[in-house]
Symmetry: C2
Subunit: 313 residues, 2 copies
């Protein structure tokens, strides 16, 4: 007997099975994470390869043909068989995703977003390990690392998440009382943070640090603390606008200027190269890159919509 199966792309069977089960191209597309057009295309292609119509297209609804019904039941049976076998064979603990992350990223970014991921992936437990050192991936249940740097780590595949930006932030009350409109106005404002960071910032906006920049009044141990201080009205701090997007949007923090001053490097998501396609890793990666992308466009939108006080450059 001739092996017609050889000419049938098996991935089409998966699409067909979902479509038959949900009785809708649109819903199958949702379920499979693709577009309705793609499902429509795929089913038509399958039908042509078989030389048989699988669905009758009525407007706004489809119905399986007789052949479609027969194929559907076989497909679902075969897919379930495979599904069981694969779950059976796969690496243990596909149900727990281990993440090591930097403190900053954990509190300022991940904490507010990870809930979304867990809602969308109720079957995946997430174990977050805050660790500022460079943890290794061998054993230890670590699947994904969130790190700061250049993105170059041997043996690891790295995907860029968030740029290392900083920009002056303060409370709306402080902004109102000091009426800061240009970088020069900051010379007389209470500054929070490391002197060299402020010097860098002034230099980047074109103000040589020769003039009498007052030393920052408060120096904390990390960015989160500094910005908290600023939010409490104690001064102006340098912070990464990506991390404080929410506070800026709801008015708890004011972003004084629209310029994003970039440091070298950035925040990266990474994992061992050869584990790139493990389902749990791939799912988290895809989700997180989506989030980062939408952050990037948020920041851009925020800058362009003039929610800042002043403009530089």
């Amino acid at each position: 007997m001739i092996d017609n199966l050889a000419r049938i792309p098996l991935d089409a069977i998966r699409v067909f099975e979902a479509t038959a089960r949900l009785n809708s191209f649109t819903r199958a597309a949702e379920a499979l994470g693709m577009t309705q057009a793609a499902v429509s295309w795929r089913i038509r292609d399958l039908e042509q390869r078989l030389g048989v119509a699988l669905f009758v297209r009525e407007t706004r609804r489809i119905a399986l043909t007789l052949e479609g019904q027969r194929l559907a039941s076989a497909s679902s049976e075969a897919l379930n068989l495979m599904r069981r076998a694969i779950n059976d064979v796969m690496e243990q603990d596909q149900s727990v995703l281990g993440i090591t992350t930097l403190q900053t990223l954990a509190t300022q970014w991940l904490a507010t977003r990870i809930g979304m991921f867990q809602l969308a992936n109720p079957d995946l437990a997430v174990k977050i390990d805050v660790d500022n050192g460079l943890s290794d991936f061998s054993g230890h249940g670590t699947d994904i690392g969130l790190r700061f740097g250049s993105g170059q780590w041997p043996g690891l595949e790295s995907r860029f998440l968030i740029p290392a930006l900083f920009t002056p932030l303060c409370s709306p009350e402080l902004q109102a009382s000091l009426d800061i409109r240009t970088p020069a106005d900051l010379k007389s404002a209470p500054l929070v943070g490391l002197p060299q960071e402020w010097a860098e910032w002034f230099a980047r906006v074109g103000m040589a640090d020769d003039s009498e920049t007052p030393p920052p009044r408060v120096i904390s141990e990390n960015q989160a603390m500094e910005v908290a201080t600023a939010m409490a009205g104690q001064g102006v701090a340098l912070g990464n606008p990506v991390f404080y997007d929410r506070e800026i949007r709801n008015g708890h923090l004011v972003r004084l200027f629209d310029a994003n001053i970039a440091l070298g490097g950035g925040y990266w998501l990474c994992y061992p190269k050869e584990r790139r396609n493990l389902p749990k890793i791939a799912r988290f990666r895809d989700w997180m890159l989506d989030m980062a992308r939408s952050d990037a466009s948020n920041i851009e939108a925020c800058r362009l919509s003039g929610q800042t006080v002043g403009t530089i450059g």
Copy 2:
């Protein structure tokens, strides 16, 4: 339970199943019509997606791991299920391939090659229908048409097979006795075929037809007859070198000049666009295009290796 299957390309399962069954990357590659490298790549990719080794690689041999064994039996079961369902559902008569073809192509080209196809496809019966008219594809069990023309037929997908070339051919004895070395020598030779074809040929090689070209001595009803006449030593005929490749190679015919004079158009393989992926059609098409390709390179090699008597241009 989390659907890990969603992240597994099902086509990889087919590759895995063949590899497990044949216990060799190389042989699986042969069976699947792909390269050993591709199989190796695919299996590695699958292993990475599963996070589990499926084979142990010893040098010059592989062995299934425990997980591999479990997956192999499930895969073969699932694939057999699908195979049966698809054969069940597919259009009837996937076992008979209907071809309509032109007389010339049938006798001069197809007849000597179709055996190869049937040897390679013992499960497919071939029904050849010689028909010089433009047969239609609706019903009638016609799957594939072999036609002459421009390749533009509405509703059909056409693949180019053989160019419409012609070149003077005669028997080796005639060549020896007449000692033909230049096109001019043909003016005194006995010609076979239609006068206007010869006029066209002389014009194409740069000899205006003003001079006293003798009228052809013999005019037959088709090219096959004319070339047969030439082969019998009765004269020089114009024939398509592709069709007489074998006779030229084994010395029954001499190709006088290496120039290929091309007419417009050529021979095409065609079928209804929407049936392009029907297994029987796809298999024949792929095979035939392969043959045509190797013909083309044969002709080229023949020209370049100086098996002709004279050179033009």
